[in-house]
Symmetry: C2
Amino acid sequence: MDRELLKGSTPILLLSLLTEGPMYGYQIIETVLERTNGAYTLKEGALYPALHKLEAAEFISSYWQTQANGRDRRYYAILPAGSTFLEAKKKQWSLFVNMVEGFVTPNGSTGSKG
Amino acid sequence: MDRELLKGSTPILLLSLLTEGPMYGYQIIETVLERTNGAYTLKEGALYPALHKLEAAEFISSYWQTQANGRDRRYYAILPAGSTFLEAKKKQWSLFVNMVEGFVTPNGSTGSKG
DNA sequence: CCAGTCTACCTCGCAAGGTGATGGGAAGGA
DNA sequence: TCCTTCCCATCACCTTGCGAGGTAGACTGG
């Protein structure tokens, strides 16, 4: 996976994931790993700063939850402002993808999937 | 346009454009502007370094051409290695887009075009 | 002739985001 | 006890895009 391509898409990924329900950091990493069949390992150095930034912007909130074994986990949940932001980001994302694909396939070829 | 989303996609744009034929810097900027209906202005500070990097990697070559009025323009043309690289990049791009959209629309909705 | 604008090239400092390394700490098995 | 797994987090470094600044020739208007 080309890392430069990822830049800017992490908030969308995170917010989209949290739309399905609250998750904690480690869980997010594992989920991404599983869903991409190992193709993309979300790094901790990318995840936590992104999460903290999203929280600072009040797009998500966090709370510590103690498990049965006594360990604490920090869960993140999406806030209404986060959903709004996600929708806006999704629109930007579509625009962006359409733009790039407009250059990649200017004649309207069938696409090079696979 | 979200600039963070752009990171890493510039080489694809450039190489794709050059697939249509040799172009010079200023022309590339104008072409991108026109084709996106003014939505995306490729900045010189992004374009020239990217072009030079692509040339250093031998994915494109450049040559100066004098116009009728005596002015010189530096044209860039894609090389075979550049085409190969473009194909690889396009595959990565598809993978990347599919991955992100896999998170954005995990239930398999129809997509949020428009 | 001079000023302003357009074409056309390029570089530099800065900000943002991902990577890899590093570190802390607790639970659980060998 | 030691090692691994789980779980949090930060930091230096690198790459890339942006905004600003710089050079220079050609054309237009005064």
